[in-house]
Structures are given as C-alpha cells and as structure tokens.
Symmetry: C2
Subunit: 181 residues, 2 copies
C-alpha cells in the first residue's frame, strides 16, 4: 500500500501550535478553543478585524518548523513502514510560500530524520498524486483529476459532523482497525 | 493532456547559470563547456578536489532564483495551455533543500506569475505523479512505482547519445511536432 499523509493535522499540530501562539501574542483578544473549531481554515472562524493577526501568526518565521508532533503519528509511520507499506507526506503549501515551504522540510527533517525528506511531496493539487490512501483532515480535496486514492479522514473538531468516511482518531489509536481491516 | 514539466533543464537554465557563476567565481579553475557536458549531475564531471566548490555554487543563496529562462519555454507553456492542456511543473529539490525549495517557488512566481505556484509540485519521486507526459532532461527517472506518464526527453549534451525516445530541442522549436502529432 502507498499511504499519503497530509502534514498539518495528522502529523503536525497546526491547531495546537496556532492557539498557543495566539494566546501568547494576543492575550487581550478572543480565542477559539480546539473543540469549538468549526471551519477547516482557522482564519474563517475569527472576526474579520482579527484575520490579519491570525495570518500573521501562521506565516511567521518558525511557526511551521516548530509545530508540535501529533502524538501517535510517528509511531504509526514507523509501524506501517515495518509492515511493508510505503508512506509519503503530501502537503499543500500556503500561497504565501515563504517561509512555509522551507519550514515544512525542516519539520520533516527534525521529526522524521533527514532521509524522510525523500518522502515529502509539496503540491497544491493532491488529485495528481498516486497512492492507495490519503489520510487528510480536509473533507474537500479538489483538483484537476478524479483522485485514485481513497480518502480516510483524520478526525478534527471541524470535520466531525460531515461525511460518512472512515475516520482516524486524533491520537491515532485506531489506525490498524481502519487501515488494515 | 496533463503535461508535467521538469524545471532545471527544460525551463530554468541550470547549466548556463552554473557555468557563468563558476567562471566568475573560479576564473583560475578548469571549466566544462556546455556542449562537452556528459553527466546528468554536473559535479560528477568535475575533478574531485573541485566538487565542493561546484556544490557551493548551486546551493548558494540566489542561484536557483536567478537562473535564466530557457528561450521558448514560457511561450510553449502559454501556447499549450491555450490549446486546452494542463501544465504542472514537477521538480526534484536537492537534498540540501535550503534555500533550494524556496527559490524554486520564487523562480516560478517571477517568471510565470504568482498563480503559477499552484502548478508547482516538488517531489523526490516523480513516479508518484500523474500525467500524460513528463518532459525531462534526466534519462533515468526512478521511483517506487512504474510511471503512468510517457517520458519525453528534453535535449541536453549529456543525454544525446542514449535512448530512442522522442526529444524536444533545446530551443523548444519542435514541441508541436513531438507533442501534438
């Protein structure tokens, strides 16, 4: 099996990292707790006058690079590779690509080792990538082609009440039931 | 048709850019003229004691970003899109990814416009990318899968005497004959 793995969400804790920085940097402004998040794009849930500050955080130097690892994700990768499957990280850079793209490579090197950058694919259209499965927290993955992979949803507060796909829990505890059944 | 386009070679003049910087920076050292190049990887054709200087040049800040455009390539992209085909740039970052990856995005933005970064795919394994055709100067494109694209070779001195595939000339003058026949 070739497993494509989205980065922000299943692997790197974008939501947690964002909330921590937001509260540090803007303690006087309202914030949205993790379980209350209901849009895929975090900035859509903040009041318009604060959107520029939201964007400022996730485009700032060091933000992507220092995102915490989602517990269970590294073990999942190690285990599934040991079972003989292939894993590639399939990530969409933000349109403000500087420093986003370089920090994605740094994050992978830091958390998965230098060799794993051979398994990082950056693309704004995931339908062009071949694989058996794509694990992604985004419910709406659109592109030029009809995908060849099966979409497995990585659970998040903002995708809980939509769709009937199989879901991997936020702590990766059920991946064997979902992927190896 | 989905056309995948390698970046260094068909689009960005890596060879020309390298040679110019090499002669500027090391006027006392031997150099290899464009028509004499016979290895895909430029550093393999330089004497061992100079390999570190070769690598220094193509990993230096500003090198990738400022590579000249291959004449005819931008017109090819414009024309083929106008005919209704899709073009994606499919590029392999160097393992020393900093500043390589960020400068690839900058190069695309500068020479093809901001929107074209939606059509840039970075991958160390091109066999995972879907497309009808891959135009690439590298004769040996290996990866985890058997490719779905047909490989069209972009001519270069180091790939002239190998293989029987169809070839696009260095000035792109024959692309219609090759791709639309």
């Amino acid at each position: 099996m070739i497993i494509l793995l989205d980065m922000d969400g299943p692997l790197a804790d974008f939501e947690g990292g964002f909330l921590e920085r937001w509260r540090q940097k803007h303690p006087e402004l309202p914030y949205i707790q993790k379980h209350e998040r209901n849009t895929f794009d975090v900035k859509e849930q903040y009041p318009e006058e604060n959107v520029k500050f939201v964007r400022e955080i996730y485009t700032s130097h060091g933000f992507i690079e220092n995102l915490p690892v989602i517990p269970g994700s590294i073990d999942f990768i190690r285990d599934v590779i040991e079972l003989g499957h292939e894993v590639f990280i399939c990530s969409t850079p933000t349109s403000t690509y500087d420093p986003n793209v370089i920090e994605k490579y740094r994050w992978v090197e830091k958390n998965l080792g230098k060799d794993f950058i051979n398994r990082l694919i950056l693309t704004r259209d995931k339908t062009l990538i071949r694989g058996d499965i794509l694990i992604d927290d985004n419910l709406e993955i659109k592109g030029k082609l009809s995908p060849v992979w099966k979409h497995i949803v990585f659970n998040a507060p903002y995708n809980k009440n939509v769709g009937e796909q199989f879901r991997i829990k936020e702590d990766w505890s059920n991946w064997k039931e979902i992927l190896l059944k």
